[in-house]
């Protein structure tokens, strides 16, 4: 009998035990991805060393208020590697200070990056990687096949700074500039995963894109639909069809043995108990983000450049510290209080995600307690395809007498959360 080696999604570093602290080092990016939720990107808001240092000093000074056993120092943009000199200085200072203070995070930290991958090969970035290799997680975003990637992930033009969109024929995709760095990235981080975003226009390319990413050597594809209200009529049917075709391909080619796609999770699509399954989905409020102005946020999605309709939810600043009152709504959030009765009693509720920042931005009032349901039809389509996937896979395994082995080996598969 063949031995199965089932991949799981549970390898997030210190999941649930680490504080995530995000430096928004720049709000600039070389790209202007069409689905990007960062509606206020700009070239002006670049973090200074003075702001970064003051933020670090504040956080490390307040050790008693940051009791998590580990920390993820997260760097985001825009594109964080545009500020590699600052990032390098921040990381050096963090290491020195955590050591000097004998801080409980010393030797229990990670530096984490979400990058578009364009500058990955540059000398400065490579030097930084070499220096911090043992404490580093880097995710490069590549969206799939070239036509899928280039559909959304296009280069920014100078005219875009003035709010002028390029003509479709002038749009320049970034696929070739990213894909060339994938082998180096996988060599340095063999277990690396990528994050794929799906908006309405991407739906026809889901299957080919996931399979393409597998062919590039990426074994873990974390993929999700955007939370914004962008979905057209029949998008759910198209989505379901794509996922079923992907399911067939993964099963027929036995890719499930050493690849994962986060769309297929065994335990999603079940009813949820009102009392027992009442946890919040999102980690906003448990995280901390700081931007170039030295403002603190419960997560980057509450900074002004992420918000279309609302003013930023600022919880303090590097000079005056964190106002804990402004964190209380986040820390007491649960599933049912923010959900409609339809969501609470939904028969396929489990695995239906939400983003607290998008909930806030789309809410009718100034609250994080109104759950956006824009994703409802897409979740239901995903659940149908997911059921198909597992029914088909289990039957195949049973017919091949591998089901028991599969059950023995599968890890505790969990949905990746932000």
């Amino acid at each position: 009998m063949d031995t199965l080696d089932i991949q799981d999604h549970s390898n997030s570093w210190q999941e649930g035990r680490a504080k995530s602290i995000t430096f928004i080092v720049t709000k600039d990016c070389q790209l202007a991805c069409k689905y990007c939720y960062l509606v206020g990107k700009n070239t002006k808001e670049r973090m200074s060393w003075e702001v970064a240092k003051k933020a670090i000093d504040y956080i490390l000074d307040k050790e008693e208020e940051f009791k998590e056993e580990s920390v993820i120092w997260d760097f985001i943009g825009g594109e964080p590697f545009l500020e590699i000199d600052l990032v390098d200085r921040i990381c050096d200072y963090l290491k020195t200070e955590m050591y000097r203070r004998n801080h409980h995070w010393f030797n229990s930290y990670r530096f984490s990056f979400s990058t578009n991958g364009i500058n990955y090969h540059t000398e400065k970035v490579q030097k930084f990687i070499e220096k911090n290799r043992n404490h580093l997680s880097i995710g490069i975003t590549i969206d799939g096949t070239q036509r899928k990637h280039d559909l959304n992930r296009i280069w920014k033009t100078p005219e875009m700074e003035q709010g002028i969109a390029p003509k479709p024929e002038d749009e320049r995709g970034s696929y070739n500039d990213v894909v060339k760095n994938i082998p180096l990235w996988l060599e340095q981080f063999p277990g690396a995963s990528t994050k794929v975003t799906i908006s309405s226009a991407d739906l026809p390319y889901i299957k080919e894109s996931v399979l393409h990413l597998y062919s590039l050597g990426i074994k873990e594809v974390n993929i999700n639909c955007v939370f914004e209200d962008v979905w057209k009529e029949d998008d759910d049917m198209l989505f379901e069809q794509q996922l079923m075709e992907l399911a067939d391909a993964i099963i027929d080619r036995k890719l499930y043995e050493d690849h994962t796609c986060s769309f297929f999770m065994e335990h999603i699509g079940k009813p949820m108990n009102r009392e027992r399954d009442n946890q919040n989905w999102c980690g906003a409020g448990m995280m901390l983000a700081v931007d170039a102005a030295g403002m603190f946020y419960p997560c980057t999605r509450f900074a002004q450049y992420s918000l279309r309709n609302k003013q930023a939810w600022i919880i303090g600043d590097i000079h005056n510290g964190i106002d804990k009152n402004k964190l209380r709504p986040f820390l007491t959030l649960d599933r049912t209080t923010q959900s409609t009765e339809e969501c609470i009693t939904c028969e396929v509720a489990s695995g239906c995600a939400w983003c607290q920042g998008e909930n806030f931005d789309a809410a009718d009032t100034h609250t994080v307690y109104q759950r956006s349901t824009a994703i409802c039809r897409m979740h239901k389509a995903r659940v149908r395809a997911n059921n198909y996937y597992w029914n088909k896979l289990f039957r195949k395994l049973e017919l091949e007498n591998q089901r028991e082995e599969f059950e023995r080996q599968k890890a505790n598969v969990r949905e990746p959360k932000c």
């Binding site: 009442n278 946890q279 939810w313 804990k324 009152n325 402004k326 209380r328 709504p329 820390l331 007491t332 959030l333 649960d334 209080t337 809410a363 009718d364 009032t365 100034h366 609250t367 994080v368 307690y369 109104q370």
Partner: protein
């Protein structure tokens, strides 16, 4: 379910709660129009709401009195206009005449420090009024370090009340006697049980929202009431408050919106102040028991070891 409509008769109508009313509004300049007043009354009649009129410090034109008297209502008036007042808002500690407040329900807005400095005046009032509502105006700036002083002040007031009760006079003081008789939350109810009509013909969750920013309206007489996310104003959608037994707390959603940015979440300050009052009510109950003083419908108040229920939030999940 809505039960009350508060009608602010003038921008300069007296504040009877935590917010500050504008003091620079010229007399009569922002008086509600007769047409709006009449429409507001009709709205209340159709929705079965009890009306509370909030008065300015000057006498209203005679034609207003006629319209107001066309419906059963409550009058909230400043101490400059106590005639026919159901509730008198005292605008200073010593200006009221004895006959104006004798047997009345009075409200006084004060900072914690001022309250501490006017204990004799409180005592004098408690010997005259039927009920005294003390509204703290500085809850937002209350510090942990202020807790001991406020606790001590409340216990002094409880001792004062006990002495008055011994004479057979069962006066009510909101900070201390309300909790004795409550078995469930009895909060302000802004947007849930109560809505406010401002002189501009628009509805607000409470007068504070109007005075803060008139653009925060929740409908108008013309377009009807439109309270978004109204469920979040109810107790069952307030994660901290629904676990709390400081039943007398105002649960001020205006302060929530200012301090925590979410209407359903109280600030640390509001929780702490409410719990100091709750605990002082427990102290009062013990003092009354020592003196053999009985008050109808009182209930035991259990001892607790926190001043802010938020500290227990992890246990609720």
């Amino acid at each position: 379910m809505l039960q009350y409509l508060i009608i602010i008769l003038d921008d300069a109508s007296v504040s009877y709660c935590h917010y500050d009313a504008p003091s620079d509004s010229p007399k009569g300049e922002s008086l509600i129009s007769l047409e709006t007043l009449q429409a507001g009354i009709v709205f209340a009649m159709k929705e079965n709401l009890n009306i509370q009129f909030v008065y300015p410090s000057y006498a209203l034109p005679a034609e207003y009195a006629e319209v107001i008297e066309s419906i059963d209502h409550t009058k909230i008036k400043p101490d400059a206009q106590t005639k026919e007042a159901d509730v008198v808002v005292l605008t200073a500690w010593q200006t009221q005449k004895a006959e104006d407040v004798e047997g009345a329900t009075c409200i006084i807005r004060t900072s914690c420090q001022e309250l501490s400095e006017h204990q004799e005046q409180v005592k004098a009032l408690l010997n005259k009024v039927a009920r005294l509502n003390i509204v703290l105006t500085d809850v937002e700036s209350f510090k942990d370090a202020d807790a001991d002083n406020y606790k001590s002040l409340l216990e002094t007031l409880a001792d004062m009340l006990t002495e008055i009760f011994k004479t057979g006079r069962m006066v009510q003081l909101n900070l201390l006697t309300d909790r004795l008789q409550l078995t469930q939350m009895n909060n302000c109810g802004a947007g849930d049980t109560t809505v406010t009509l401002a002189p501009n013909g628009k509805f607000y969750l409470c007068p504070a929202f109007y005075h803060d920013d008139p653009s925060q309206h929740v409908g108008s007489l013309e377009d009807g009431l439109d309270i978004k996310n109204r469920q979040l104003l109810r107790l069952d959608h307030a994660p901290i408050c629904r676990h709390c037994d400081a039943f007398q707390c105002k649960r001020c959603i205006w302060m929530n919106s200012r301090l925590t940015l979410d209407a359903n979440t109280p600030s640390h300050q509001q929780c702490m102040v409410a719990h100091l009052e709750r605990n002082a009510s427990r102290y009062l109950l013990a003092k009354m028991a020592e003196q053999g003083i009985r008050m109808s419908d009182t209930h035991d108040i259990p001892e607790i070891n926190y001043l802010d229920p938020f500290t227990n939030y992890k246990q609720w999940k």
